[in-house]
Amino acid sequence: MGTFTLNDPILGVLGGGQFTTRAFRMNGEFRDLQLRWYQSVASQDMEPHYLELFIDVLGVDESLPS
């Protein structure tokens, strides 16, 4: 399996209006994916609204799960 490289070069700022869209590159294989987002710094807020992922379906994985 590959690894995520989410700290790859910036893809740019998209969107407009109320929301700001932050883009990142991903490159990793998976069957199941769990997401978490958090803000733990004093005096700092967070309000993410939605996440867009671009997913390549590679095919049936007949290998035993790791």
């Binding site: 990142f24 590159r25 991903m26 998976f30 996440l51």
Partner: protein, 469 residues
Amino acid sequence: MSDRLQKVIITCGGGWATDFGPVFTGAPQGNALILPFLLRADNVTYELDGAPHKVGGSSLYGPRLDEGGVAVSVQGLYDFWLQGTGGSETQNYITYAGTQLLRSTSLSGTWTAIKTGLESAKEPCFETFTARMIWASTSNVDVPQRWDGAAATTSDLGASAPNFAFHAKHKNLLFASGVASNPSRLYFSDTLDPTTWTGGSSGSIDVDPDDGDRITGIVSHKNELLVFKGPNRLSVHRITGSSPTGADAFARVPFVTGVGGINHNGLFRINDDLVFPSPRGIHSLAATAAFGDYVEAFLARPILSYYQDSLNHSVLNTNWGANFQSKGLAIWSFAPSGSSAKSVYLVYDYRFQPGRWASWGVNTPYVGANCLAVLQTTGRKHTLFAGTSGGYVHQLGVAARSIASGTAYTGDVLTPFLNFGSSAMKKNAHAGFWSLLPKGNYNFSFEYTRDSNAAQAVTVAQGGGNTLA
């Protein structure tokens, strides 16, 4: 780039749920994957599109409450208003802390004792009736008190008043219960006279006495008095009628058995309904009326395993609830397992149908909530307050995201594992795009876990013109 690339927009369509399992197996519909539940939604509230937003922080109201230099536990808070006759209303914050009842005039942050020498650490009840603040507690020693807003100290409610623990006005009478020597007896005062409990219109009603339960809470709702019993067999009863005698005399009508209340302070109204915790879950009166004790109708159904397994049930009867109506939130504070300090908030957002749960203080600490109340601030905003066992009164939900204007806490959201329709299909994510409402020139953290790999974290910048650093 592969021609099999699929775009998936992930949004939140449900709240915190511990009981749906760790995986959501839904496939994207029209490129949208709406998550029906979250495994964690701690220290957040929801925007109306379902997006979790870190809950507001707190600021302190007044100094620490001490007795002899030692912090005392804030057991209850109350907003006491008097209209008077001169066209100018007056407001006092009231608290029962340590061994005292205290008031704060003009919301100055300065507390003044109006009653001393009480038993500490009891569960109080407050009501405004006939231009008096009426206080009682679960103490078997302290008798109910009344205060007119002007006297230097409170007075005993009346020589004939039973030593009740909680009370509610209904039909121009003060109803009360929680008398240790008569645990199933519902008392009521004379008409518009809470100082008189013998003669006149006063009286009492025995509610299913000696059934193994005691009366745990009462509330006036939709022209009836609802009487909750518990904490063992559990039942709810209706007191119909409008006066002690006559053609429309009070009568007790059994409502349901198997669902009941655990205490008075966790029982309150939302919308046209009553909500209340029991040892078995959190319930709605309307759902109970429709479905009885069917567990599917429990308000807390999505988080029942958390409720059953992760709370300290030996102090469940000290929980506090509040209807934070201006935010559409029904909120209860509980002590988690292994602790007697109420540090966990279960938060039910009833703007959604069905309502969505969130927690505060479950995964990481938020403000302790030994008691909860909605009080009006100097700016006349109806605002949520919490009293702590360490002597502090916090105003919650303030704009600054820190506790007492300094301490950090963590807004934290965790999705179930997503297989995008099939766990047999291997997938590869190429790029991601977070759409957010920037809150400042700083970051939040995004973390992802692929299968059984270790979670990997990314910092997402909210401010500035560029994206990930």
